[in-house]
Symmetry: C2
Subunit: 464 residues, 2 copies
């Protein structure tokens, strides 16, 4: 399959250029002015061609709970998250489809799904999500969310975890089974070793996870210091910082990405820089859950790679990558009065594309429009009202609120969005299924976790 995009606006080191881009199979093979036509042609006039973004942290099953959970901090929010009745595995498939569709229509071509597993049906959950991503054609990093300790022990001063040995082995067996079954980078499906976070995992699980990732050459991913409570817990549990502990367990490295990273001190930032790990910034869930502002400008100054994630739909509650990029860019302007440190829209686009690729060990393969790179890219319609008038298209894409702006998306050389429409999913059918599984509209306004709430308020120093 060969095709040529003609006369698209491309961002180069010398500014915007109108160029042709040629693709053979899954790679960009030529870029230039007036290339000889090969294969199908696609009109790029009044369109902007950018590398695809990475939605570098989400939890697709949370799609079922978006809009539902009232304003609560993470620790109490989690108890709400786990309280409703269990999903069916068909719903896992549907929520992965929905997550992928929203990601694609906001400029994402790659997704990291830190996948909540249905208890007792863990393999079924992974299979259902993989099936959805294969159907959609988005590049997927399926990261099963695994732990071997229980939720109450994730709160500070709430007792120690029981010995998890049996559960640890079951988790590791599950992961190896899923890897052997599904991991296939050439087909766009990648498994990831992804413990939930230190607060719910034994050291053995983390270490054995690292071994698995080395054996199968997989990326690693985890939650890290999303809340102040977790910072307190790390000191209680390890007598050292969480990052120091992860380093000792050899979890950190250039193919490791870490979601949130809100509560790191300078010494921890230096460790991230030294190990080459990537921070995934989830600005919207960090605000919604009151977690805080991750010190993104400091990370960048220390040379830590940063990219963006939407986080799960129960804590955001949308999978709009451009929204995460916008807020994750402008939010930091209030943390440093020297505007020379602020992130520009053009830097934000690089963070979202090449920064995301780097966190997955793919910076040689994707993240820019260049010969030899994977054809994972997005064509934006510059005649969309939301991108008019034309000024600095990247400036408006990042700082505006693009709607119906994505014209086409290619992943691995396959066009999976054309004329603003997903080609691989029947979206009408998807909407019907989402409606069919919906509950009657209801206002949720209180927390149902009274005893946990009391403990939380007490350890966090809130009036009781």
């Amino acid at each position: 399959m060969v095709f040529t995009i003609q006369n698209a606006l491309v961002l180069t080191d010398q500014g915007y250029k109108t160029l042709d881009v040629q693709v053979e199979a899954d790679r960009i093979t030529a870029i230039g002015v007036n290339l000889p036509i090969a294969g199908d042609t696609i009109d790029g006039q009044n369109k902007l061609l950018l590398p695809g973004f990475v939605n570098a942290h989400t939890h697709s099953p949370e799609f079922w709970q978006r809009g539902r959970i009232p304003p609560l901090p993470l620790e109490l929010w989690l108890f709400e998250l786990y309280s409703p009745k269990l999903l069916q595995s068909e719903q896992i498939y549907l929520s992965a489809l929905g997550t992928a569709v929203e990601t694609l229509l906001s400029g994402g071509t790659t997704i990291v799904d830190h996948l909540l597993l249905l208890p007792g049906r863990e393999r079924e959950t992974i299979d259902a999500a993989v099936r959805a991503y294969q159907q959609v054609g988005i590049r997927a990093f399926v990261a099963p969310l695994v732990h071997d300790q229980s939720l109450p022990t994730s709160l500070p001063s709430n007792g120690t975890a029981p010995d998890p040995q049996r559960q640890t082995k079951a988790v590791l067996d599950l992961l190896e089974e899923a890897i052997l079954m599904h991991h296939c980078p050439d087909r766009g499906i990648n498994l990831v070793i992804s413990p939930t976070g230190l607060q719910l995992c034994s050291d053995v699980l983390v270490q054995k996870g690292v071994e698995l990732s080395e054996r199968y050459q997989l990326c690693r991913h985890t939650h890290l210091l999303e809340t102040r409570a977790q910072q307190i817990l790390a000191q209680e549990k390890y007598g050292c910082s969480a990052v120091e502990h992860l380093k000792r367990l050899e979890f950190l490295g250039p193919h490791t990405s870490l979601a949130h990273c809100v509560w790191l001190d300078d010494a921890e930032i230096d460790i991230l820089a030294a190990t080459g790990a990537t921070v995934v910034h989830n600005p919207l869930s960090n605000l919604r859950l009151g977690s805080g502002i991750a010190p993104i400008l400091k990370f960048r100054q220390a040379g830590v790679n940063v990219c963006f994630g939407c986080d799960g739909s129960a804590s955001n509650d949308a999978q709009d990558v451009l929204e995460a990029i916008k807020i994750g860019t402008i939010l930091h302007n209030i943390t440093d009065s020297d505007y020379r440190h602020w992130i520009t829209p053009h830097e934000a686009v690089q963070m979202a594309s090449i920064g995301g690729a780097k966190g997955l060990g793919l910076e040689q393969q994707m993240g820019c429009i260049a010969i030899g790179q994977k054809a994972d890219f997005v064509l934006y319609d510059l005649t969309s009202l939301s991108l008019l008038p034309q000024t600095d298209p990247v400036g408006l894409l990042v700082l505006g609120r693009p709607t119906q702006a994505v014209d086409s998306v290619w992943v691995n050389g396959q066009r999976i969005v054309a004329d603003g429409k997903i080609q691989t999913v029947d979206v009408t059918m998807l909407k019907q299924e989402l409606l069919r599984y919906s509950q009657p509209p209801q206002q949720y306004s209180t927390t149902s976790v009274v005893d946990v709430e009391q403990h939380y308020r007490s350890v966090m120093g809130l009036s009781t």
Copy 2:
């Protein structure tokens, strides 16, 4: 004209109810289950009916510069804003249309346009904006942005303003002329007395403005303490706080709305509460310009009325009211660790609707779905992918990222959006005109205001 919306989801004190809503002329005349049909019927099934929101602070001409200005604090950003070549008055008309269209398609039915005036063509500017709003049919509060001092004097420690007497009189004459020509609440066009802000206005201008507003029963509006530099300047200029000074000038009152209010201390908050003035929260521009986080939770606790604005498109850079509501809601969760103070989505909707109405003295007329209220409301399509699955529709509307979710909009009983399409503007033509006036795409990345920048860095204590 009579019509009945049947079986729409309506939010009541007892939660969501499926109801019929009947309108005669410009008012809601009946609400109930299975109302006898009168006039045209509109199918409200799987749709949510909410009162229209107020986009309570914007500057429509900035539409021409959206995406263009690099990350800079307000004081330097302003010099960029005023640097490009002047607009034509046809462009003022087009940017007001664009601002109104984006407002309507994100749930807004009322707009407060703090209108930048073209130098030497002030009346022409006002006329062009009014023409646009009359055509669209949105409820408009046209608030000419007037001052009688020059931009450099708005920086702290930058000399005093020359005597502005002649200019003051010219400004006041202009305002009175515009009021007599255009102010007509029944037709949905309201003039507002709206000095730019203390930093650019003489006391005489503010006081005479108050007199004008009393004489013609107009609302008052101004920028207030958007940045730390303005807080410093107020002390330099008046030897007291800005709010104290505005109170002495009798500018504050129940029909006064104040954009930004980022840098207020507790005593100033108490004055706002006592005078009944309204705060317009512009969370997105406050982030983009690095101004800070307005103390919205404190305002609410003190009993100050708060609503939302998008601010002008050069500092946001979009007119999506739902985006302003979302970020203006979740942003404050990081300012108070006690989640019981956080704004719920249902409260946010009230702030955006009845809060907005109150700031314009219209809380008896609009802001809820109730008999006798103006028919200014919005029907959201709950089968939009972005509002699925159905959980708590208001929760998802506020915390999600609604796209193509607005089905219909009525203002003053007139349906100006139907099936997601604006009925009163040819949007294809509007886009062509916006494209026609566009410059070639260009990356803007540096500030052009070297000497001002040096002074700014010095007074703000930034390294030079």
